[in-house]
């Protein structure tokens, strides 16, 4: 018992571990809430694209000596708005618009990095995540962004749900569906930036997709899935963080793999419980 307590609490004697836990808690809340929309509106590719597009903002801000998180936020929001704009103006499909913006912004990022002749470890901490290098100001920035995002979701929950489920009907009853479709993309952009420093560009989308997908295996109610996603994201985060601390492996992939393990467990749970597959009418008649 004592050994377990030591295993659990020992890491948090260090300031950087406490900060890591805090930023992962914030990431879990944002990832769970936004991820539920992402998974059920089929926007997983958008999450990945917005994550990769931040490389342009990160690298430009880094080279210009500006705040890198602000650069990432600007790049993600510009890409989010650009995706909708391109889709409407060029009349291409959603995933085509995403594909174009994604590679353009990522290429811009790589191009800017290629101008640097020296090795830039700070920059690469954004690419692969650096949970133990999270500063106090990073935590504050993540908390402010997360607070704004949660306030928006709370204020417009009904509209966001309506637009995600049935955008055409939403428009006929006076919901500004176009605004909320843009807003969903900007929400993903914000969620990506909140998680960016801790998880890294390459894996950040996992924090949106895996917890929400796992929660969807065990519940069929949007709000419950959202709450459960937050809890599952936090369990995966803490497990990954401990695995990283005790086994001496990189935290970011450990967190993602913990999440994947939960997803597999969710699949097992679903199989064990057995979800109804026949329409209720057939069963009611039987």
């Amino acid at each position: 018992m004592e050994a377990l307590a030591t295993w659990l609490f020992d890491p948090y004697q260090f300031e950087f571990m406490r900060r890591a836990l805090l930023v992962l808690a914030i990431t879990s809340v944002v990832g769970g809430v936004v991820g539920t929309f992402v998974v059920h509106k089929g926007m997983a590719f958008s999450g990945d694209a917005l994550a990769h597009s931040t490389l342009a903002g990160v690298s430009i801000a880094f080279v210009a000596g500006m705040n890198v998180s602000i650069g990432a936020l600007i790049a993600a929001v510009v890409t989010a708005l650009g995706i909708s704009w391109t889709r409407e103006r060029a009349r291409v499909s959603y995933d085509t618009a995403i594909g174009i913006l994604f590679v353009a912004m990522f290429s811009l990022g790589v191009l800017v990095i290629s101008t640097r002749t020296t090795y830039t470890p700070d920059l690469f901490s954004f690419v692969f995540g650096d949970i133990l290098g999270v500063s106090r100001s990073d935590v504050i920035a993540a908390a402010v962004l997360a607070g704004a995002l949660l306030l928006f979701v709370g204020a417009c929950y009904r509209q966001l749900l309506f637009v995600a489920f049935d955008p055409a009907m939403a428009r006929t009853v006076g919901v500004r569906a176009r605004f909320f479709e843009y807003a969903l993309l900007v929400m993903i952009a914000v969620a990506v930036v909140v998680a960016l420093k801790a998880i890294g560009i390459v894996l950040v989308n996992a924090m949106l997709i895996i917890p929400a997908a796992t929660a969807s295996l065990v519940s069929s109610r949007f709000q419950r899935i959202m709450g459960l996603s937050v809890v599952l994201a936090f369990i995966a985060s803490v497990s990954g963080l401990h695995l990283s601390y005790h086994a001496g492996v990189a935290a970011s992939p450990a967190i993602v793999l913990s999440g994947c393990t939960l997803f597999i467990a969710g699949l097992g749970w679903r199989r064990w419980r057995g979800r109804p597959t026949r329409p209720v009418e057939a069963r009611a008649a039987a």
Partner: protein, 288 residues
């Protein structure tokens, strides 16, 4: 193509009982479409110069083959597709100013049935009025939604995830959402598609009841027998209005042949109408 004088009636006699005195204040015309032309960029107009009226307290069938523009007409009326000409008025004002008085039921295929919402959640969406931050559904919203579910015989499934419902139940959920809105004008896109005769009959009874309460209902359908037997008026559409008026007068072999672009055999004794392909016309008889 203008209205065919041979099949339209200048003086329309409603098939239904006149509106009860308490509903007379609703006025005569719920929906009026004037010279409406709409379509999609880069293509010829899907509908052209559409003129029609849906009177209060009547069930009007909008009939036409696949691709005739029935759904586009609904979407143009509702502003989901921008008209290139003409306008749609609901209760004498532009449709966007009368949103609270209009309910729309999309085709069942247009909704994501895997979405994790309950039957009641979907019906509650019909109660949406205007944006207010941190708004939650009121008791009145829940009561109206449950009443709509009772009416469509779905109350026992209120807490089910919508994906667990059968095809007929899904249509009834969307109809319950339209009913819960409490609107005076209902636009229903293919509510009968793929339903067996018994379920169709139940839905028609619900619509009859709504019309008797003074609601105006425009129903897009392929189902000729349903329009012939249940609708007060019929509008035959194939990019343009081919004919409009009381169902019995409009649904003639000549009008239907023009509308469906093929010869139609009617069997009046049983009120059953069947397609048969004309010699030389490609296509399967049952495909409409």
């Amino acid at each position: 193509m203008a209205h065919d004088p041979a099949v339209t009636s200048a003086t329309h006699i409603p098939a239904r009982e006149p509106l009860a005195p308490e509903h007379e204040h609703l006025g005569a015309v719920a929906l009026e479409v004037r010279h409406l032309t709409a379509g999609y960029p880069g293509f010829p107009p899907a509908i052209e110069d559409i003129n029609l009226r849906v009177p209060v307290g009547e069930l009007v069938g909008l009939i036409g083959p696949n691709g005739a523009g029935k759904s586009t007409l609904f979407k143009a009326i509702l502003g989901l597709v921008h008209p290139t000409a003409g306008q749609a008025l609901a209760f004498g004002v532009p449709v966007r100013e009368a949103r609270d008085r209009i309910a729309y039921m999309p085709q069942v295929e247009e909704v994501d049935w895997d979405f994790p919402v309950s039957v009641l959640d979907v019906v509650l969406m019909g109660r949406y009025r205007a944006f207010r931050p941190f708004q939650r559904w009121t008791r009145a919203d829940r009561e109206a939604s449950m009443a709509a579910l009772e009416r469509t015989q779905l109350a026992q499934f209120a807490q089910r995830q919508v994906g667990q419902l059968s095809g007929g139940q899904r249509r009834r959920v969307l109809m319950a959402r339209a009913i819960a809105r409490g609107a005076r004008l209902l636009l229903l896109d293919e509510p009968f598609a793929g339903l067996d005769a018994a379920v169709q009959h139940d839905l028609v009874q619900i619509l009859d009841g709504l019309a008797a309460e003074g609601k105006a209902i425009l129903v897009a359908t392929h189902d000729l027998s349903c329009v012939a037997n249940s609708c007060d008026e019929a509008i035959c559409l194939n990019r343009r209005v081919i004919a409009a008026g009381p169902s019995a007068e409009v649904l003639t072999a000549e009008v239907l042949t023009t509308t469906f672009q093929r010869h139609l055999l009617t069997v009046p004794r049983t009120d059953i109408m069947q397609f048969v392909t004309s010699p030389g016309v490609a296509g399967v008889g049952g495909e409409d």
